[in-house]
Symmetry: C2
Subunit: 245 residues, 2 copies
């Protein structure tokens, strides 16, 4: 772990622990540098990390202030349902309902940077939290990763983790589109809700470290089961609105 990550971690712990309340001032960079025996640049990297997490804010000339005291999760916890669930103290389970190879559609070809008609693997999964079905996942994997996905246990808990362990695949970047849709008949049946009831939809494309697309997915959460949360600031703003579809 890098020095600046250690410092960030230490400060984050202090904030989460309540040493610094919301609205309180953090020590100055010079003071932190002296305390940790590090250069000011290193301290700046540390607080930049906290700022990116939305824990602290800053303005030129004034001390940094604490904006929040909740720890935000890692990329893995956003991407992987199972890892997120575990970190929140839930028991996640899931079942593969269907899995088939087929030629990709033009839309999928564009999303996954494939040639039109290239073979992909389409998987339908139902995910549960503490036994309750909360998520219908319709995932399309690029052909080159399909064999590894097919080797997975149908009841495999964390696909992300299994793929990392079996073939070293790392999900590194993702683009996510979030909106609300009405439950279709299949959604309704699987999630145990009425047809037309509101679902939170997350469509995503994920790529590996090299920027090669791995999978695209349409995930639908039962209303009330899951909420997405983001913090933003004038300096860091990842979430944007988009016109419908």
């Amino acid at each position: 772990m890098a020095r600046y990550e250690q410092i960030a971690s230490d400060l984050r712990d202090a904030i989460v622990r309540g040493d610094y309340r919301i609205g309180a001032q953090l020590p100055s960079e010079a003071e932190l540098a002296a305390r940790y025996g590090a250069a000011r640049g290193t301290v700046r990297q540390a607080v930049a990390l906290l700022a990116a997490e939305g824990l602290v804010g800053s303005r030129q000339g004034a001390r940094r202030i604490v904006l929040g005291t909740e720890r935000s999760q890692s990329f893995a916890e956003l991407h992987s349902f199972a890892q997120w669930a575990r970190s929140m103290g839930y028991r996640a389970s899931g079942t593969v309902l269907s899995s088939e190879r087929r030629p990709c559609s033009p839309v999928e070809a564009a999303r996954l940077s494939l040639e039109p008609g290239e073979e992909v693997l389409a998987v339908l999964r139902l995910r549960r939290l503490d036994g309750e079905p909360v998520l219908v996942e319709r995932t399309v994997y690029a052909g080159w990763i399909a064999p590894a996905v097919e080797r997975l246990d149908p009841d495999c808990e964390s696909v992300t983790q299994e793929l990392y362990e079996s073939v070293g695949l790392v999900f590194a970047y993702g683009e996510h589109l979030i909106d609300a849709v009405a439950a279709g008949s299949e959604d309704a049946r699987l999630l145990g809700v009425r047809r037309g009831s509101p679902l939170l939809r997350q469509r995503r494309v994920t790529t590996n470290q090299e920027g090669r697309p791995v999978e695209t997915s349409d995930d639908r959460y039962r209303a009330g089961s899951v909420t997405f949360s983001i913090r933003n600031s004038t300096s860091a703003n990842p979430l944007v609105r988009r016109a419908g579809d």
Copy 2:
């Protein structure tokens, strides 16, 4: 504008223009430093900015790669419906349907860091895109900003901009919770949809530069009208899932 912002802007333009395709490699830091006549540290700040926007990704040892070519918008465009709409080429309008001062609820007190029972201003607005109603906004303003809000034109297009111009208020930090809910009877009537139909809900708390909470809001978008989009990576991840409510 700082040097690193100029460089970032120049690179972003090149990416958006298509000089670098998705998956292509960016020049090395040393090369960029030479090209712009800047130190490597400055170039690193520039590309860090692009990485935060999700345009480029990087791994130690390998050239940076282009992940996307779409420009993501600024904080203001996430926060301000009107500014976002304008940047997307839509015509935004809105109407204040009701506005009343009242003591705050315990929940509101906690969100806005107020004393229980302190006075707040509750405003109900209907927002339209190109004349079509798409958003019901139920906003609660902290008492100290209420007078400035009440002075606004009821049909005021951009509240954010007006408040900045009239009292210099800047919305600097925000926390947003996104989920799906069924339309209530009031929502349904205002948006022209059936009761129970899916809406995309965004609840937020916004604070000014000093970390002082300004407003909290419950915004409900008609399904299909607006989609939230975020890019994330292993290094930068602002969006997280949360258990329901």
